[in-house]
């Protein structure tokens, strides 16, 4: 009943071995035992489920898989512990690619809080060990191997159903076609057939691997580019998949908005509203001058302020809301006698010191610490021969010394010539403090002998 050639008509390659079928698992083990006893070394058994005793019968070597799993488990432990200590316990500022580590200080736990690191370590051990068991099984078994000469035997399909097979390889030193066939037959094997090396079939053309590698590499470029750009600065908007809150549907300042009649995105306040702290009803304090009508705060000003809300603002009215209006219109510039000559705030030592500190912060860079007009910026500008630079007038110049305090306050608030106004940067009390300090340094430069106390004067004359 033996059939030494497969049924299909394809040309035959080299003989690989003989395949015989057995009735059940016990018969398979018995046959395998006899085959190895007879001196066959390259025998393999095939069965739909693991057959007990077959490994001893075939003298199959033990597998190294458990050691692979052990090694991967141990490396999982090391990797997890090092990873957590590095990511949560130490820091290398400036390390590239976001690999700087981060020393978290959480709940007063130490940087290397091993007990808290155990759960993740445990999971990583299991994960890597499981990879070891699974991929170790796949690789040690030589899988995936989708093409196998045995699959060409129709009978062999039963090996995954109810068939038990023994295969003697032609490379076995004891293999001889006729004798082996007779031997297998004597063991109770049925349907013995020869398995040949396939000569027909399709192989994947070599260049396809190259194409595949190239496509895979190219496919990596866009995500790599996104990753690289996400952490670097750039003059154009960053490319991001999820815009998140980068583009918000809102009206931004100084833009148009069609829904409103006047087309302006920004709205003016409702008539009669005054912003918090915007009711500057003390003209002497806030603007440094006494109004014409002598009325403190000036009904004229407040009236104008409130009236401005009721009319549509016009394009050339920069202070249309009036609340922050500090510059009286040019034609409305107060007359000299209207400037405040007395400080509208209480003059104290603290105010003087505050003024000195503010002056040194805001003014001295250009005006110099002594107010003489030779601050660092001025020196530098003169050094560079900047044609556009206007040197500040010395505060000790007669024209400045003669100015009433209100006018000095106005200059600080609104600027003069090239000097910008500082009312947005310096609080109103601080501006008065600076004016007070200005008065002090003016006096320090223009002092006369009468300004000195008597005893100091005597001391000085003694020195001479």
């Amino acid at each position: 009943m033996s059939k030494t050639h497969p049924s299909h008509d394809a040309p035959q390659g080299k003989r690989l071995g003989l395949l015989a079928q057995f009735a059940g698992p016990e018969e398979l083990v018995a046959a395998a035992e006899k085959a190895t006893d007879a001196g066959y070394q390259r025998v393999e058994a095939f069965s739909p489920f693991p057959v007990l005793g077959i490994d001893e019968a075939l003298k199959n070597p033990r597998t190294i898989l458990p050691y692979v799993v052990l090694m991967l488990g141990l490396s999982g432990m090391c990797i997890a512990l090092l990873m957590q200590c590095y990511m949560n316990g130490m820091e290398f500022p400036g390390a590239p690619w976001g690999l700087s580590g981060y020393d978290f200080l959480i709940s007063g736990k130490p940087s290397f809080s091993i007990p808290a690191f155990i759960p993740v370590t445990f999971e990583v051990i299991i994960l890597l060990s499981a990879f070891g068991a699974f991929f170790g099984m796949i690789l040690l078994n030589g899988l995936p191997k989708l093409s196998n000469p045995l699959f060409r035997s129709e009978r062999f399909a039963a090996a995954t159903d109810d068939g038990f097979f023994l295969f003697v390889e032609a490379s076995d030193p004891k293999f001889a076609e006729a004798e082996t066939e007779a031997f297998l037959s004597s063991l109770g094997g049925s349907g013995i057939e020869g398995i040949d090396e396939p000569v027909t079939g399709h192989a994947v053309p070599g260049f396809l691997y190259l194409v595949g590698a190239a496509v895979a590499t190219l496919a990596l470029l866009p995500p790599m580019y996104l990753w690289a750009t996400s952490g670097t600065t750039s003059t154009v908007p960053r490319i991001s998949f999820f815009k998140d809150m980068e583009n918000q549907p809102k009206v931004k300042p100084q833009t148009t908005f069609a829904l409103f009649k006047d087309g302006r995105g920004m709205r003016v306040a409702v008539p009669g509203t005054v912003a918090r702290g915007g009711l500057k009803d003390d003209a002497k304090l806030y603007f440094g001058y006494e109004p014409e009508d002598g009325f403190v705060g000036g009904p004229r000003r407040i009236e104008a302020m409130l009236a401005s809300y009721s009319v549509q603002p016009v394009a050339d009215g920069p202070d249309a809301d009036g609340a922050d209006s500090a510059t009286p219109p040019a034609a409305d510039q107060p007359k000299e006698e209207n400037w405040v000559t007395e400080f509208p705030v209480k003059v104290t030592k603290e105010l003087m010191e505050r003024g000195q500190q503010r002056f040194n912060i805001h003014c001295a860079v250009c005006h110099g610490l002594d107010g003489g007009g030779m601050g660092l910026v001025t020196k530098r500008a003169l050094e560079l021969e900047q044609g556009t630079w206007t040197q500040p007038t010395s505060v000790h110049a007669e024209s400045v010394v003669e100015q009433p305090v209100g006018k000095l306050f106005n200059t600080i608030s609104n600027g003069v010539r090239k000097m910008p106004g500082y009312k947005e940067h310096i609080a109103v009390e601080d501006r008065w403090a600076i004016v007070l300090y200005l008065r002090a340094i003016q006096r320090s430069q223009l002092a006369t002998a009468d300004d000195l106390p008597k005893d100091k004067l005597i001391e000085l004359s003694n020195l001479n």
Binding site: F46, P48, Q84, V124, M137, F242
Partner: protein
């Protein structure tokens, strides 16, 4: 069957085959290896699956589609579509997450722990339970994924080099442990499931007629031949994976319970949580296995392979774990009283007699009382009753997690107490996750071997004693 003279054994030890009236065989009827192959493969090879499959699939897929649409709505609109609020910030998403993760545990338990204990009855149901695990973990993973709010930043959960912030994940937080535990669990479950399926996929490959089926199963079975050297390494790998999955399954729900237990909230901050969560997970998982298995063995004609005895054993596991869970509920009350912490005492009195007491008593009746019915053999053997009680177990375990989350309603500061009211999106997503689960499960039943044929044959040969019987 009654071949008492045949000697066969497990692990090479020869022992007498048990008398059928003492220890009935695990595979019933006049089955041999071929008929087992035939019965299992027929399910996925049949060009016309039963009508019940089509009806179930259409319903499940529609519900899953609704789930997808709701997730889309959530992403576009924001997490405000849920009932989550300042007090109950976790709400349904975390209830559903813990519920599904818990269900997943039975699969690994049946596969791994019963394998290590050489419980041969597992072979008929382990594939089924493993598939259930994976699909349950898919559902579970969805919820924390969408609960983060900005779903597209879900990758922030994992430690990765951030070039903008130069910061890393916080490894001292249970929520991060959870990320590692659940993703490891999902990965290992898939590996375990797939590896167990390779020999059976080879069976499907060798039986396939249509070239597409032949190609697909050929690719998936990786060229498995069933040679003795392959089986040797395979069995070693399977044992190792089982040994690895056993501590893993216990660790996963332990870590999930840390999400609660490591916090300071009364009712959450207890050391009983890890064992209590693990028992509950096994309990709920077996409940879900029964819910799926009872109709499936009916529809797919698997009554010889998944016998009444299998069902009875699972019922007994449910009674055992249900009683453990009940004991944990009592212990919580005892410790609240014995610990003398007034906040803890209030939390538990509030659970049982507060405004949401209905949830607590639903949980008690479903989890503690209903499984006690399985003490009666007549109930264990009545498939309709088994099915109904298994549904009760599922309901009860969902409510257990709901009751735990409701502790957030009334924490330390009465000024910030707030009652939780789910929205229709909350409810829809709960139902929708079942749709996703059943869709995946029905697809699995249609296209993959739902019983581990090679393992069943092994049990037939060496436990039922067919090894010497000529087929």
């Amino acid at each position: 069957m009654a071949t008492a003279d045949i000697t066969a054994g497990v692990s090479g030890k020869l022992g007498s085959v048990p008398e059928p009236w003492i220890d009935p065989p695990w595979v019933e009827g006049d089955n041999d290896y071929k008929s087992v192959t035939e019965k299992v493969c027929r399910i996925s090879e049949n060009p016309r699956p039963p009508l019940a499959w089509f009806v179930s699939f259409v319903i499940a897929a529609s519900v899953a589609g609704m789930f997808g649409a709701m997730i889309g709505y959530l992403i576009i609109t924001g997490v405000g579509v849920w009932g989550n609020q300042n007090a109950v910030a976790w709400g349904f998403p975390i209830v559903n997450f813990v519920f599904w993760v818990g269900i997943g545990h039975a699969g690994t338990l049946i596969s791994a722990i019963l394998f290590l204990f050489r419980q041969h009855w597992r072979t008929s149901i382990n594939r089924f339970a493993e598939a259930m695990t994976i699909f349950a973990v898919v559902c579970a993973g969805t919820f924390p994924g969408i609960h983060v709010g900005r779903v597209w930043f879900a990758y922030w959960l994992f430690p990765y080099p951030d070039t903008r912030l130069n910061m890393w994940s916080q490894f001292r937080s249970p929520l991060l442990w959870d990320v590692f535990a659940v993703s490891t669990y999902a990965t290992v479950s898939v590996l375990f499931w797939y590896m167990g399926m390779i020999p059976d996929l080879a069976t499907l490959r060798d039986r396939a007629v249509h070239p597409i089926r032949r190609f697909a199963y050929g690719l998936l079975s990786l060229g498995w031949t069933g040679s003795s050297s392959q089986w040797l390494i395979y069995e070693k790998a399977y044992t190792l994976l089982a040994a690895l999955a056993t501590p893993l399954v216990l660790s996963v729900h332990t870590i999930v319970s840390f999400d609660f237990a490591v916090s300071q909230l009364p009712g959450w901050h207890t050391t009983i949580f890890p064992p209590y969560f693990v028992a509950g997970a096994i309990f709920s998982g077996f409940g879900m296995v029964l819910t799926l298995m009872v109709p499936a063995r009916q529809w797919f004609g698997l009554k010889d392979i998944v016998t009444t005895r299998h069902i009875e054993l699972m019922c007994k596991v449910i009674t055992a774990t249900g009683t453990m869970v009940g004991f944990a509920y009592l212990t919580e009350f005892f410790i609240a009283w014995y610990g003398g912490n007034p906040y803890e005492q209030f939390a538990f009195m509030n659970r049982a007699f507060g405004p949401q007491a209905w949830a607590y008593w639903t949980m008690i009746s479903c989890n503690v009382i209903s499984p006690q019915l399985f003490w009666f053999g007549a109930i264990r053997r009545n498939m309709l009753l088994v099915f109904i009680i298994s549904i009760f177990v599922n309901i009860g375990m969902w409510f257990e997690r709901f009751v735990i989350i409701l502790s957030l309603e009334r924490a330390f500061l009465p000024g910030s107490w707030q009652s939780f009211v789910p929205t229709w999106i909350d409810l829809g997503m709960l139902v929708g996750s079942f749709g996703l689960f059943f869709t995946l499960f029905l697809l699995f039943c249609r296209f993959l071997p739902i019983v581990a044929m090679s393992e069943v044959k092994h049990v037939m040969a060496y436990v039922d004693g067919k090894a010497k019987k000529a087929h």
